[in-house]
Amino acid sequence: MNLILLFDVFLIAALLLVSWRLLGASDLFQATVLFISFGLFLSLAWIRLGAPDIALAEAAVGAGLAGVLLFGTFKGLEPGADRENDSFTSEPCRLDPISPCPGKIHLLLAFTCVGSLTTLLVLAVLDLPATGDGLTPMVSQFLERSGVEHPVTAVLLNFRFYDTWLELGVLVAAVLGILCVRNRFDLRELKVLQAPDVMLRRLVMGLAPTMALVVVYLLWLGDHAPGGAFQAGVVLAAMLVLLWFSGHASITGLSRMLWLFCLIAGFAVMLLVAVVSALWPEMRPLEFPEEWSAMIILGVEVVATLSIGVALSSLAILSLGAVDDPGGS
């Protein structure tokens, strides 16, 4: 028991320390590295708290993808900045280049506000009931009728199907937004900043089939154990980004239509389910017959995996790709 407590304290201290440093460190490169470790510590916390689903997603997204994005953006901002350059303060990147740096009053004000907010939150958290079932009993009661055995998957793809569908919409919206930023209509011929070296190419080539297997495995796992469309999609995204990064064929090779189809397939299939169920006379919107629900959920998961993978990798590739924009055509 004490050992676990020790672990908890260590983990929390690490989390707080890392987040403090990543926000406070003067070196932006260091902060980026710390951000990745922040994600890893968070996934440890998820495992500790019995949420392996999230640990998987966090490790891949929070640490992996977000880290890659931050790192890539950092490289894009400061191509010359490297490990040796300790003082990345020469030219801060701000929204408003005219406004002065925050003065003492600003800092004090922010500290007071945040301090009172945190105090209030601490009081609120201490006030929370120490036990509480939430919706666990409901979920376990209806789990059998959901078509899957793993409760998290049941919640995501059946009980709160609507949320999951909309969340795929959020992904689509983000990708469309980035397309506007980059003034592009697709990913064709988007180049990596630096030419990949040969070792990496070989390594990724060897890794890719394994990752593809992991994707399928995670997808299959989601039915009865931690895993599912999200985790599989995230691994798929990582694979696609790595392939692109190492100069292999990836989604940048897809034609515009094909890429768009892959991007939107998850959202569109769930939309299709919604439309069909709304047209079906005896059915509530987004309801599916119990005997088919396993099938439908599996189908949706497969397509959603593809879409999540393509969307997340598009996010990364669009953010990291070389800057020579072709202009709208």
Partner: protein, 106 residues
């Protein structure tokens, strides 16, 4: 101190740190990181809530919420970072080329 309470307190402190960073740090990358720290804190609060009851399994609803939240957060982060990079490039361009005052409307 139950596991729930220490983790939820840690979550709150993460949120506080993130908000402080967001308010005081000027660099846009740092602001995006700060937002992600806030998100991490909120997710930690949700998951520690789910952990309170272990009769059958941890409450899956907050877990589903966190999974959704992670995807939303990464979408917004990706978008914001793409914007940061574009803005940085435009401003660098307009510095080297004073004739192109891109702060004005076209």
């Amino acid at each position: 101190m139950s596991t729930f309470s220490i983790y939820s307190l840690a979550a709150i402190l993460l949120v506080g740190l993130g908000v402080y960073g967001l308010f005081t740090r000027q660099h846009l990358l740092r602001k995006v990181m700060a937002l992600n720290v806030i998100a991490g804190g909120i997710f930690l609060l949700l998951i520690s809530t789910a952990y309170r009851n272990q009769d059958l399994f941890p409450d899956p609803v907050p877990q589903a919420m966190v999974l959704t939240g992670i995807v939303v957060a990464i979408s917004a982060t990706g978008f914001a970072l793409a914007l940061v990079r574009s803005i940085h490039r435009r401003m660098a361009e307009s510095e080297t080329d004073p004739s192109q005052d891109s702060w004005d409307q076209p």
